[in-house]
Amino acid sequence: MLDGTSKPLLKVNNLKMHFPIYRGILKKQVGAVKAVDGISFDIMQGETLGLVGESGCGKSTAGRCVLRLYEVTDGNIELDGEDIADLTGPQLRAKRPEMQMIFQDPQASLNPRMTVGSIISEPLYEHRKMTKPERRARVDELMDAVGLARRFADRYPHEFSGGQRQRIGIARALALNPKFIVCDEPIAALDVSIQAQVVNLLEDLQEKLGLTYLFISHDLSMVRHLADRVAVMYLGKLVELGDSETLYTAPQHPYTQALLSAVPHPDPAKAGNIDRVILQGDVPSPANPPKGCNFCTRCPVATEICHKDEPEWRQIGEGHFAACHLIK
């Protein structure tokens, strides 16, 4: 899927998203929830970058920032050579067709009062000058592509199962021929037997249409299967990024190690002899992150320096980045 000649389609540099906290009758700002606090990564053309982390670590916010669903606090987002972080109004709107999103909950992201046909054609209606029959033809094409029968176009979302609803969401995301798609936990709400169907569909579409994915998930085994490279996020910051083979076989950051060892193994023979790192406690609040390294409160190997200085995001191997004082 990847070769040395591919160029980055998306470049994110020092992206920050702080949500202000207001208190009192005068609504004075008393602080900020640092949901995303300075993350940088690239995604190559045709590549899948997996973004993993626990709930509340800011991975969904990061995905939404990249699509400019928020006004970002700071940083650059370069899509196809153009910085979109500060675009507004018509210029931003003109960029929207190139980047799309597949949402987690297919139930909540489809309007229950619209037919499947109108849901899929809505982006066309908004962004393309097409006649009704042209739109209808494109809807048919899209429904074929995601494996839904054309005759379902006049039905409503409640008539479909979870897996089929997710296919409708995918068809809608594909309507405008985007280059880049953010998949925000697209399989989390689905049953195991249906998850595989949707994942295979995403892979087929990528191959056929040359799509680039940012795949956000907390399912580490599915990310390993899908992603070429994986970024691990903790409390608004990236802690490690590397190609999925290296990251899964030789994780460097203590958080990545703990996260991977926590995944239960579907093999009772192996389950007994895993060296498991069990993290104590919970993720601290992003409104009041700990001093020094974000992870120092739960890190099993933290030393004095970890409580004082913030570790620098640096390269530790070929295409392998991490932020930790203890990695040589």
Binding site: E54, S55, S161, G163, Q164, D191, V192, S193, I194, Q195, A196, Q197, V199, N200, E203, H218, L220, S221, M222, R224, H225, S244, E245, Y248, A258, L259, L260, S261, A262, V263, P264, H265, P266, D267, P268, A269, K270, A271, R276, I278, L279, Q280, D282
Partner: protein
């Protein structure tokens, strides 16, 4: 079906239906299993496979009507549960059988302190006075690994994180020293790191207290980790049942085999493509007259669409409900 070990809970031929406006829904179709003291039975299945309804039926926790238990025997500790009066049932629920539910936020009452909610079963079931109950509640919180237990009794559920709330739920379930603990997807709503904490806690508590546990989940990884025996459910029926290592080593039912193959491998090499199970789980509008998995099964033949298979023994501790024989690849002689 099982060997003659001592059993604490025995369920035979349980059938539960819901009478709805759109007709009858056959949620649980003749489910049988038993549980030995101190054992951990895992129940796996997709949503809608009847795992939760089976467990709720045991203690009549379902709203009746619309739910109705139409057939079967439930024996708990030598007593017939179906014949119990409401008063007797109330003593068993939360007393001798503890429940942990999936979502710790919605199963704790937001307007009462955590201490009050742990003390409630102690006072009702064990008749402790307020002071004794408070001391015991603090012990329980400590047991489930909540630091500074006595002070935290005064806190409300929203002051705890998700993993902590689930620990509180476990403390409540364990309050009266139950003989059986039913855990309905206790880690599904939690992150993997917190899930690992809870699994470790349950393992520890099991060793300390020795109760039998029924653990419902859809995650085969979790099952591999903690269960002694596993029952796989599909469309309201148990389709395969075996000791845990046997099930993962030697799965017989095409559904179990497919489920295991759909899981991406965390170690080893990355597979090219995931095996998927085509089609959808069935709607349960009719009582099963044929194998419910047949329309999605790659091994189905004519008999599968005509007759519903009964569970047959494969080996001592392994049975399967399927007409197809995984060993020969042909029809099973049953």
């Amino acid at each position: 079906m099982l060997d003659a070990r001592a059993t604490i809970l025995d369920v035979a031929n349980l059938k539960t239906v819901f009478n709805t406006r759109d007709g009858m829904v056959h949620a649980v179709n003749h489910v049988s299993f038993s549980l030995a003291p101190g054992e951990l039975l895992g129940i796996v299945g997709e949503s809608g496979s009847g795992k939760s309804v089976t467990m709720m039926s045991l203690l009549k926790l379902l709203p009746m009507p619309p739910a109705e238990i139409t057939d079967g025997d439930i024996t708990f500790d030598g007593r017939d549960v179906r014949a119990m009066s409401d008063d007797e049932l109330r003593r068993v629920r939360g007393g001798e059988i503890g429940f942990i539910f999936q979502d710790p936020m919605t199963s704790l009452n937001p307007v009462f302190t955590v201490g009050f909610q742990i003390m409630e079963p102690l006072r009702i079931h064990l008749g402790l006075n307020k002071k004794a109950a408070r001391i015991r509640a603090a012990e329980l919180l400590e047991l489930v690994g909540i630091p500074d237990a006595t002070a935290r009794l005064k806190d409300f559920p929203h002051q705890f994180s998700g993993g902590m709330r689930q620990r509180v739920m476990i403390a409540i379930a364990l309050a009266c020293d139950p003989k059986v603990l039913i855990a309905d997807e206790p880690t599904t709503a939690l992150d993997v790191t917190i899930q690992a904490q809870i699994i470790e806690l349950i393992k520890e508590l099991r060793q300390k207290l020795g109760m039998a546990i029924i653990w419902i989940t859809h995650d085969l990884g979790v099952i591999a980790e903690i269960a002694d025996r596993v029952a796989v459910m599909y469309a309201g029926q148990i389709v395969e049942h075996a000791e845990v290592s046997e099930l993962f080593k030697n799965p017989q039912h095409p559904y179990t085999r497919a489920l295991l193959e759909t899981l991406p491998d965390m170690s080893g090499t990355r597979s090219k493509r995931l095996r998927s199970i085509d089609g959808q789980p069935p709607a349960l509008g009719k009582a099963p007259s044929h194998c419910e998995f047949a329309p999605r099964c790659t091994h189905a033949f004519d008999r599968c669409l005509k007759e519903n298979p009964k569970r047959r023994d494969v080996s001592d501790n392994h049975d399967v409900a399927c007409w197809w024989d995984a060993k020969t690849g042909g029809a099973a002689d049953a």
